[in-house]
């Protein structure tokens, strides 16, 4: 294990300084993310691959103090997404709850400020999100959906690429105490 990888796995720089979102941003950012998901593809259809609510969930989970706020935040965003879909309420809620929980758990062990780690985590959680949603759809709703691994990987890479600048911008909105 090299020194760099050891530092990635052992150090937790985020925990040294507490930086949190204001409550307004906590409401406004997911709202904007959900809005962009339902509104932007009307005019720019190729942006429909962008899963901004997921990226917001991951970012909040990575920067939150613990898994419990992260899972509730993920649940909240997921339920809003469910409300605007034709699916039973709870599908996105469960998936994003799990994403929030695991992302918050991972943030305890990795240096999430590192762009590489951020990229990998964003890609991983996108793939996890899509795969788990597909599993739930088949298991709970009995829907026969196809899971295109190649497309999911590509979209995951694109979302991860978007996550890097997005997380930078979101970090600017946080206040450090």
């Amino acid at each position: 294990m090299t020194e760099y990888t050891e530092r990635l796995l052992t150090e937790a720089p985020r925990k040294e300084t507490a930086s949190r979102f204001r409550f307004v941003w906590l409401l406004l950012i997911p709202m904007v993310a959900v809005l962009s998901q339902v509104y932007v593809p009307r005019f720019v259809p190729f942006l429909s691959y962008l899963e901004l609510p997921l990226l917001i969930t991951v970012h909040f989970a990575l920067s939150s103090g613990g898994p419990i706020p992260a899972l509730f935040y993920g649940m909240f965003i997921g339920l809003v997404q469910d409300s605007l879909s034709h699916q039973p309420i709870g599908m996105y809620g469960i998936v994003k709850t799990l994403v929030g929980y695991f992302a918050a758990s991972v943030s305890m062990r990795f240096d999430v400020q590192n762009p590489v780690v951020t990229f990998i985590l964003a890609f991983f959680f996108y793939f996890f999100h899509q795969f788990f949603y597909w599993v739930l759809s088949r298991a709970l709703l009995g829907e026969i959906l196809t899971f295109d691994v190649q497309q999911t990987v590509i979209f995951g890479l694109l979302n991860a690429a978007v996550a890097l600048p997005l997380f930078r911008v979101l970090d600017k909105l946080k206040v450090t105490s």
């Binding site: 959900v34 005019f43 613990g66 898994p67 899972l71 339920l79 039973p88 799990l98 758990s105 709970l140």
Partner: protein, 448 residues
């Protein structure tokens, strides 16, 4: 328990949250009910923001988009106007071609159906002269055109050839002030002379004020001028006021409506019947002629059928008597022996005894009325002409030249048609019925 909750607190919360949502989904799936509260809240929270976004987009990006769109509108408008002009020109050209094709087809059809021998010609120029209405056509003496030939179109007469050159001919239009042609009205058979006036309308002169001519009545060529064959349409009456001596009958020439471009020069004219007024412009629905009653007449029979009149039957009877007694009507010196008219049977087959006319049978409801016996008349008395619609049986045979002139050669008779309803024919002879066949006359087409 406390140790478990404190050690696995995060996991416990996660399981509770996940379980709660699973129960929520299970409830929705099992009961097929929705959770309206959450959806209403979410939609109520999101949609106003969405409407605001749409409003902003419309007034920002939409404005910018419209601006860029309008940038190209001017050049696109000029391009479209140019295209529109070209399409208009093309449309006019195609319309002209179509009109020419229609006229050519009408001329061809008319040539095919007209008994007269004609040659098609195209107007290639106007003649000089301030008041002269003459045109040049592209057919001349090499095509058989001679001076004095009639020039017509399917719609009516156009003029006459005044000069024939090898490759072209000079045609005097009927609107020329020096033009004249014999015409006859369709309905009232009023004869007159058509004269050009130098403008669009022609005058029918030499018609007495006592004659009756209706507005809109058609005039046809009478054939009296030996230029135009009888039966070609001339035009419709537009005004017919009384003059000092003659009526001032103005006719709108039907053959020159819309200009003259393609014409037919009549190389060899054939007289035709003037069509019935009802056939030309009935204005109302008419039934077809009634079918022949009884068995069809044998070949060569004198039975003219139900469409013949008593005058036709009497003419046949008199002709038969003349043949039996070897007497030719209209010949022989004055005082020669006439045929024995006392042996002529009446229409119902009764031969008068000692010259006494039998009294007509008493009429009774539902009984066929009997015909009165005609009175013998002098040979030089002219028989009244029955209306053409009633006397001309429908026939598909081509019209004889001057077909109605043979009526003057027949033995005359005077018939009280009011007391002579349709009676069965007397007898049948081998002499063909003297009935004027109705030729297919050229009916005026679009200008009626």
């Amino acid at each position: 328990m406390d140790f478990f909750l404190s050690r696995y607190r995060h996991l416990t919360v996660l399981l509770i949250v996940i379980t709660a949502q699973l129960v929520l989904i299970a409830y929705q799936v099992k009961t097929n009910n929705d959770i309206p509260l959450i959806r209403v809240w979410a939609v109520t929270a999101v949609t106003p923001a969405e409407q605001g976004l749409e409003l902003v987009r419309r007034y920002t990006w939409g404005f910018v988009e419209d601006y860029f769109v309008l940038l190209g509108v001017r050049s696109e408008n000029e391009k479209l106007q140019h295209e529109n002009g070209q399409l208009k020109i093309e449309n006019n050209y195609l319309r002209s071609e179509l009109s020419t094709a229609d006229r050519a087809r009408a001329l061809s059809l008319f040539q095919t159906h007209s008994p007269s021998k004609t040659v098609a010609a195209r107007v290639i120029g106007n003649g000089t002269g301030a008041d002269s209405k003459v045109v040049f056509v592209d057919r001349g003496s090499t095509s058989g055109v001679e001076s004095g030939m009639a020039v017509v179109t399917p719609d009516g007469i156009v003029g006459k050839v005044v000069d024939a050159y090898p490759t072209a001919s000079l045609v005097m239009l009927i609107t020329d002030p020096t033009f004249a042609a014999g015409v006859v009205s369709q309905k009232n058979h009023v004869r007159g002379t058509l004269k050009g006036q130098g403008h669009a309308e022609c005058l029918v002169d030499y018609v007495q004020n006592e004659e009756h001519v209706d507005i809109g009545e058609w005039f046809y060529t009478s054939g009296d001028d030996r230029i135009f064959p009888k039966g070609f349409p001339v035009g419709q009456v537009t005004a017919a006021p009384n003059g000092k001596t003659f009526k001032q009958i103005y006719v709108s020439p039907s053959g020159m409506q819309g200009g003259v471009e393609e014409v037919l020069i009549v190389l060899q004219g054939v007289h035709q019947e003037i069509p019935d007024a009802q056939a030309v412009s009935p204005g109302y629905a008419i039934l077809p002629p009634p079918p022949q009653t009884g068995a069809p007449a044998p070949e060569g029979s004198a039975d003219p059928g139900v469409l013949s009149t008593d005058a036709d039957r009497l003419r046949t009877i008199y002709k038969n008597v003349g043949i039996e007694e070897k007497h030719t009507y209209g010949e022989g010196p004055p005082g020669s022996k006439p045929p024995d008219f006392t042996k002529i049977p009446s229409l119902n087959g009764v031969v008068p005894q000692n010259g006494v006319r039998p009294q007509p049978a008493t009429q009774s409801p539902g009984r066929q009325p009997s015909a009165a016996v005609p009175r013998p008349v002098p040979a030089n008395t002219v028989a009244p002409t029955a209306p053409a619609a009633a006397t001309t049986p429908k026939s598909k045979t081509p019209p004889p030249v001057q077909a109605d002139d043979d009526a003057d050669d027949d033995p005359p008779s005077v018939i009280d048609t009011a007391t002579q309803p349709s009676a069965p024919p007397l007898h049948k002879t081998s002499t063909p019925a003297v009935a004027r066949p109705k030729p297919p006359a050229p009916a005026p087409t679009s200008n009626q």
